[in-house]
């Protein structure tokens, strides 16, 4: 009996520990589909896939030719994330189309899409849907200055060494912000990206000596279609529903060969990218928000014009396995009726739960205008998930008996109207008790 209880306790403890390890770090789920050309090809990416497993993801490695693979069944996602490491396959899974992938993303699924010089039409069309335009088939990224100098001097100039631009800050870890950080090795195809697109963030670009040209061509000017910083190597995209998609022009970037390359930062880079895309970092959320009258602390059914109110919102950011307070100085509140009548920056204040949330506070004076207003915090920042909190609030005019009375500024008017009334009484008195001249005057009148 005693032996049995020991076993039970031990198994419970073990089970708890086991659960602790497997618990997903991602906010949006732990089911990952990995598509590779053949199941055996997964060995090429074992380090990357092992790091995903180590982070608590439940990985399903499937061959691209496996026709039973579907992203959604009856409109319900079968996976939370999909990693496509099979850029050359013309067909993926159960003949997955561009629309299937887009619908997966619309439903909140996250994607990592890789490419190569022989990128299939499917991958090309899918990327175009997100504003990422891959170069023509058969081209490669070449750099005669910044590339991996291999042993035996057989250096491959298509294996370029690249660095992330400054815009990639929230996506990548801090070490990449350092100008002398190790380069990321990349072998594949380039893409054009639109820098002004607020949803697309370029996280790895070419350097000044990088260009894209057909493989084997001598790089005369006509053959170069894209070069320098405009040449995108890896870009990430965040949709309006906070789903995330990564586009890497190189599948090799995730391979064991480059991850274990000395002097390269591929390991950290792929970890950062996958953490960002699989919703393990830079995930922002609003845990609570409230607004109430500053005077009473109560939230009325509707406010009155020019009321002084308090608006508060709690924000958390997810990284390193837990929710942390999100600290920023640019959280803004808006009171909108067609146009914003008020746009005020909220200040950080003492939080009720300082370990996980940061509270932002604003003392707002409502406009001297009645109508149906929307109180909104629309917080969209590069690399962070979008927070858009809206409340529809009625602002009513004062009732006839709610206007302020006996204002000190109006006292002179009160007094003077009173004085006028007294003056009237005085005149009446003077008129009535000044009767004698009347006779005088009437006699005078008659004599005239």
């Amino acid at each position: 009996m005693r032996f049995l209880t020991t076993v039970a306790v031990a198994s419970l403890a073990f089970g708890g520990a086991w659960l602790g390890v497997v618990e997903a770090k991602s906010v949006s789920g732990d089911r990952v589909l990995v598509l590779v050309p053949k199941v055996e090809a997964a060995k090429l990416y074992s380090q990357f896939l092992d790091s995903l497993t180590g982070r608590g993801f439940d990985i399903s490695v499937r061959a691209a030719t496996n026709t039973s693979v579907a992203l959604q069944v009856d409109g319900v996602r079968t996976y939370d994330h999909a990693v496509v490491l099979s850029p050359e396959s013309k067909k993926l899974g159960a003949n997955l189309s561009v629309r299937d992938f887009v619908s997966f993303v619309d439903d909140g699924g996250n994607l990592v899409l890789t490419a190569s010089s022989e990128l299939s039409e499917l991958g090309r069309k899918l990327a175009a849907r997100f504003g990422v335009e891959y170069e023509r088939r058969g081209t490669a990224v070449i750099d005669h200055v910044a590339h991996l100098r291999a042993i035996n001097d057989t250096s491959d100039h298509t294996l370029v060494a690249a660095g992330p631009p400054k815009t990639a800050a929230p996506v990548l870890s801090k070490q990449f912000a350092h100008p002398q950080s190790n380069p990321v090795y990349f072998k594949g195809i380039a893409h054009k990206y639109e820098p002004s697109n607020p949803m697309l963030i370029s996280v790895l670009t070419g350097s000044r000596t990088t260009y894209s040209a057909p493989i084997g061509s001598d790089a005369n000017e006509g053959a170069i279609s894209l070069s320098g910083k405009a040449l995108g190597l890896v870009s990430v995209f965040q949709t309006r529903n906070n789903a995330r998609v990564a586009f890497s022009g190189s599948a090799a970037l995730f391979s064991d060969a480059l991850l274990s390359q000395e002097g390269g930062a591929n390991k950290q880079f792929t970890t950062d990218i996958s953490q960002w895309v699989l919703q393990e970092k830079a995930v922002l959320r609003e845990t609570a928000h409230r607004h109430y009258l500053a005077s009473t602390g109560e939230r009325p059914e509707h406010y009155r014009i020019s009321n002084e109110i308090v608006y508060e919102i709690d924000l958390s950011v997810y990284h390193d396995d837990a929710w942390h307070p999100y600290n920023s100085k640019d959280v803004q509140f808006e009171a909108i009726m067609l146009d914003p009548y008020i746009r005020a920056t909220l200040n950080s204040t003492e939080s009720t739960d300082p370990k996980t949330t940061a509270t932002y506070h604003g003392d707002i004076k409502l406009p001297d205008r009645y109508g149906t207003f929307t109180f909104r915090v629309n917080y969209k920042r590069t690399g962070y998930s979008n927070v858009d909190v809206k409340d529809t609030v009625g602002i009513w005019p004062l009732r006839h008996d709610e206007y302020p009375r006996f204002l000190s500024a109006a006292y002179p008017y009160y007094i003077s109207s009173l004085v006028m009334a007294v003056g009237f009484l005085a005149l009446c008195a003077a008129w009535m008790w000044s009767a004698e001249p009347k006779t005088k005057r009437t006699t005078k009148q008659k004599s005239n």
Binding site: A409, A410, Y413, S416, M420, C428, S434, Q445
Partner: protein, 112 residues
Amino acid sequence: MSTTTADIFSRLARDYADETPLRLKVIDTYMVFCVAVGLAQFAYCLLVGTFPYNAFLAGFGSAVACFVFAANLRIKTNAKNASQFTGTAESAFAEFVFCHITLHFIVANFLG
């Protein structure tokens, strides 16, 4: 013809004192008083702004209306205008009182 400005004014004052009946003098005093109160309110409004605008309108309007009523009473009760009016001085005074009572009701309502 050698009258100076001072002579003109002193004569004007003397004639006014001698020839104007006492009741008209009382009304004149009241009208000066109305103008003074009205001007004081207007100056105050210029100084501090129009904020309780309804109170300003009530106070200022009361002074103006009192002035107008007094002017009407003066015209009607002036013996020189007797040929143009049929009513007696008493009926003119009664009208004056009625208008005033109505006015002060309105003013009190409008003061806010």
